[in-house]
């Protein structure tokens, strides 16, 4: 029997909202989460804007002890996992066999804020001053570890680390694991908390971030004047569940996950391959597995980072994978124009946007896109949300290291 996989729960804490519904509402309204960096003093930094999570009190949300002993990225993941479990109804006693519940929550850089603070303690006070919690707080798999402990999830775990493609890979791998019978439900997504001095400096110096200090124009994917991404932070975790398992317990189904592509550029550590070969093949894999028919309507939540190279390469990849006609028919947007680039968390937020777009028949816009670029000549839904009555959605992600990941979703009709 062919096992189908659906999304039955969502949890998110993002620069535009501290829950999944708040985040989705803000995206549809075109609200930006980008502003001046408040996490640290940016004197001496060429970058001064980011998309920060607002009003997050870890001690209030999780208790003081948990807040003290978990890096901010894990705190985000725990909060998002609670919301995901509750919205799926899987927090109820006996809703799922713990050994059939998995956790695939990744992070791009893990506990880099903890690492930075503890390196300072080492330099200032010597080896004796380094926290015993350094290692559990910095390792990038600990979000998955802590989420599995918190929700007694004893099935498969797989904390993916593929930079900016992390949580798209996590969702894709979770889809496959459920489809092929290794679990009945998996908490899949990503988390990131890297708006700290050392990583902002590093991302600046590798010329990935925009130095534009104006929050209103800093991130403008596909615009001719784009010149780098804006760093975001937060977490998003989706509950992927086998369809019959979900139906048997009367779960609310948001959308179906039905395809996954995963390829490497084998080209360069940070630049996308200008031929777009890798992303083209990843899109093809996902749409072929899902059986996407562009004529039935397709929403593409693009990676759309607002870097010169990404947006141009991705546009080319969409044309090569879908055909010129298919790419022109697709409705595309980059929600990073509002959330910034949440690195390891970004793919999950964008898959959530795909699922909600299919459920609510609306596409969130690409804000800040005002000056067309001849190299980016598709329909990117500029400025404001658009109606969408299509059946299909894909989310594309490209990560440092040359990782390309794509997931394909389908509108779920009641009674299927």
């Amino acid at each position: 029997m062919d096992r189908r996989v659906v999304i039955t729960g969502m949890g998110a804490i993002t620069p535009v909202g501290n829950t999944a519904p708040q985040s989705w509402d803000a995206l549809v309204k075109g609200e930006s989460g980008i502003g001046p960096i408040t996490a640290f003093d940016t004197t001496g930094f060429r970058v001064s804007v980011a998309a920060e999570v607002k009003g997050f009190d870890a001690a209030a949300a999780l208790g003081k002890s948990v807040a003290l002993h978990n890096d901010r990225n894990v705190q985000f993941a725990l909060v998002a996992s609670d919301e995901a479990m509750a919205s799926a109804g899987l927090d109820a006693e006996g809703a799922i066999d713990p050994e059939r519940l998995g956790v695939y929550v990744g992070s791009g850089v893990g506990g880099i804020g903890t690492t930075e603070a503890q390196v300072k303690r080492l330099m200032d006070g010597g080896a004796r001053k380094v926290s015993p919690y350094l290692v559990p707080m910095l390792i990038a798999n600990m979000a998955t570890g802590q989420v599995s402990i918190r929700h007694n999830a004893k099935g498969p775990t797989l904390p993916v680390v593929t930079a900016c493609a992390t949580s798209t890979n996590a969702i894709g791998e979770a889809f496959r694991a459920i489809r092929y019978g290794y679990a009945d439900a998996i908490l899949a997504g990503g988390t990131e908390a890297a708006i700290v001095p050392v990583s902002v400096a590093g991302f600046t110096n590798c010329r990935a971030l925009t130095t534009n200090p104006d929050p209103a124009t800093a991130c403008r994917p596909f615009d001719a004047n784009r010149n780098g991404f804006v760093m975001g932070e937060g977490a998003c975790i989706l509950v992927l569940e086998e369809l019959e398992h979900a139906k048997a317990r009367g779960a609310n189904i948001v959308a179906e996950v039905c395809g996954y592509g995963n390829t490497a550029d084998a080209y360069h550590i940070t630049s996308p391959d200008p031929s777009a070969d890798g992303i083209t093949r990843a899109i093809r894999q996902a749409v072929d597995e899902a059986g996407v028919d562009v004529e039935e309507g397709l929403y593409v939540n693009a990676h759309g980072t607002s870097t010169k190279l990404n947006d141009k390469t991705e546009t080319l990849g969409l044309k090569q994978a879908l055909g010129e006609k298919g790419a022109r028919a697709a409705q595309i947007s980059s929600t990073k124009s509002m959330t910034g680039h949440m690195l390891g968390a970004t793919g999950a937020v964008e898959a959530m946007a795909c699922a909600c777009a299919l459920r609510d028949s609306v596409i969130p816009p690409t804000i800040g896109l005002t000056t067309p670029d001849p190299d980016c000549d598709l329909d990117y839904t500029p400025g404001k949300a658009a109606k969408f009555d299509g059946k299909w959605a894909i989310s594309t992600s490209l990560g440092f290291g040359g990782h390309n990941a794509v997931v394909a979703l389908r509108r779920y009709e009641e009674g299927e």
């Binding site: 001690a59 208790g63 003081k64 002890s65 948990v66 807040a67 003290l68 002993h69 004796r128 001053k129 926290s131 015993p132 919690y133 559990p136």
Partner: protein, 77 residues
């Protein structure tokens, strides 16, 4: 003197480990209130800063009282 060290150690344990709502006495077993070996090391480090002492890195107090006695022993040296 001993009383004051006890109060200061308890304050550190509560603050550092998020045990605000837990009653701590000399006989309280550290593991029983959720302080594992990592948490104990962290509390030892905080006490070193608070009292300006160096505690043996291998010290492994099992109760709050043993913890206080280690600190007092070093303070009275």
């Amino acid at each position: 003197m001993a009383e004051s060290t006890f109060d200061r150690v308890v304050a550190i344990l509560k603050d550092q480990e998020g045990l605000d709502d837990v009653e701590l006495t000399r006989d309280t077993n550290l593991a029983s209130v959720g302080l594992d070996s990592m948490a104990t090391v962290e509390a030892v480090m905080a006490c070193e800063d608070e009292f300006g002492i160096e505690i043996d890195p291998e010290a492994n107090p099992q109760t709050v009282g043993e913890f206080v006695d280690i600190v007092d022993g070093l303070l009275n040296k």
